[in-house]
Symmetry: C2
Subunit: 349 residues, 2 copies
Amino acid sequence: PLIAVLPGDGIGPEVTREARRVLEALALGLDFAEAPVGGAAYLVTGRPLPQETLDLAKKADAVLFGAIGDPRFEALERRLRPEAALLGLRRELQLFANIRPATLFPALADASPLKPERVAGLDLVIVRELVGDVYFGEKGRRHDAEGLRQGFDIMSYNEAEVERIARVGFEMAKRRRKKLCSVDKANVLETSQLWRDVVNELATEYPEVQLTHMYVDNAAMQLVRAPAAFDVIVTGNLFGDILSDQASMCAGSIGMLPSASLRAWSGDNGMYEPIHGSAPDIAGTGKANPCAAILSAAMLLRHSLGNEDAAQTVEAAVAAALAAGARTADLGGSLSTTEMGDAVLRELA
Amino acid sequence: PLIAVLPGDGIGPEVTREARRVLEALALGLDFAEAPVGGAAYLVTGRPLPQETLDLAKKADAVLFGAIGDPRFEALERRLRPEAALLGLRRELQLFANIRPATLFPALADASPLKPERVAGLDLVIVRELVGDVYFGEKGRRHDAEGLRQGFDIMSYNEAEVERIARVGFEMAKRRRKKLCSVDKANVLETSQLWRDVVNELATEYPEVQLTHMYVDNAAMQLVRAPAAFDVIVTGNLFGDILSDQASMCAGSIGMLPSASLRAWSGDNGMYEPIHGSAPDIAGTGKANPCAAILSAAMLLRHSLGNEDAAQTVEAAVAAALAAGARTADLGGSLSTTEMGDAVLRELA
Ligand SMILES: CC(C)[C@H](C(=O)O)[C@@H](O)C(=O)O
Ligand SMILES: CC(C)[C@H](C(=O)O)[C@@H](O)C(=O)O
């Protein structure tokens, strides 16, 4: 199988290197091909998502993605900014299902800002819709009736878009603790009301799953109050963006959390990336935690290559390295990115 | 001065009663007039915001609001639901500035789900825009080009709307620790990009205030990681809804947090309400914490009546009652709503 490696900006290349080393160490006969993306691609080609990079991503069996974002390019027009590459890949590959697990490694129970008793047993998955919502609706700048500058973005979902992501949520819950919480703002938004209607309709196909609905403001509160009470959360693109970053913090450090972006439940041709960003402030210092990238590689093995054994081997190696005391700076330790990668590789051997 | 009292649904009447008792005990010669709102008003008049209630709110010097929301009315068309009353009042009274302080009462340091060292010194204010954004844009249901059901909501701000709320943020920061954090999603939304541009333009008038910008996903994370690092946060209606509920949890219990909704910096004719909802599950059980309502009355004294002394007297009485061990169920105690009110009144005497 061919793995497209898109390291991107900031700490992206540093953490992706460790993830690739882990995949190589498994000796599964994988082929790797690297291509630039984000600000790094803009610098050399004038575009954040060059056609060659997109072609490679489409052709590959899976994409290992680092991170994008570079403050130097914030003033460019939107289609030239690093973010356009990430949004473009999601859209072009139709990666509508973003899976973001937030689990607490026992060795990190103390790293969470939340009290240990609040995060004990934390094991939730956020299923975030990734190619619709206010992210991809018509948007722009104009002058309104009074001649004032105005910015606008259209939020919307149709029933097919809601159904396919809700199905992923139900299927996921069915294989886990059978609790699905759908998050919306149906007391204010029509988009959310449709979302809620469609989720309720689909629920009849999943009698074994216990479905609840929660307003997004309440969900943000409950993720602080009692995060361990959640099993699977399914929500739209915007709310999922906010809640998954928040949930990651409950798990200790955003440096620990992987994600998968899939275009089908089976996961063919998925994209795998840490949920953290490019962290320009620590780029190049060797301080970044590679665990999120390594755990993203584990998700790649699971979802795109169907190799559950190898996925669990990698996850166990990360857990063992942590249990043995390996810690990067974000976890209160002093290992460099490479040393943390070494620690995981040692456990793998 | 005339205070309109709108108790509303669920625990609204129970907590509002205690807030009114506290205001009466101050013997400031206030007049009170009560009117139904939300589901309670719908039951008797067929409308969640009867004209008489709106007229009273407009005529009064300030509005003391309880809570709205009742699951029995969730299936009604949107304009008949309890929420329509709250949104209608905000819009009709042009209460564009929602002020939501999140402070940790020292006696409650242990009640927060966050570790004590993370919330030590927590003292932040969220300034949320309240009459624009995706809340009040055109919205609806339709069939799209493929004949599928679709829900849509238009998000937008114009420069005048952003400027007036940003000004409240800057003025507030100027009187506090001089740090303003503007929260948006400018890497994806045009509405946010305009927001950011206008905030930056206004910043030139406030050289003494240190302005930063943060994406909303990062803000949700930082509010878990290091909430005490924030001073004033200014943001739009939707992001403010989510972040203020989240921040309230850091402060221990949503049962402690008041809010003010103002149509001018000076606060004439403002509306004051707990940020918690109607809590149908505990309505009528006498378990509700009246502190948020009582502290909302303190904000009323401060902002609408210009009586800072009385405001501080009420806040000190709440702090003293807590320090003396008074606790409702949400704080791990067993006092009833009235008993908690009594405890505050005792300290006031
Ligand atoms: C970089 C940004 C466009 C992106 C998003 O908002 O989706 C990021 O925050 C994420 O969650 O992957
Ligand atoms: C009840 C609801 C419409 C309201 C809102 O979303 O503004 C509430 O959550 C609030 O924050 O006051």
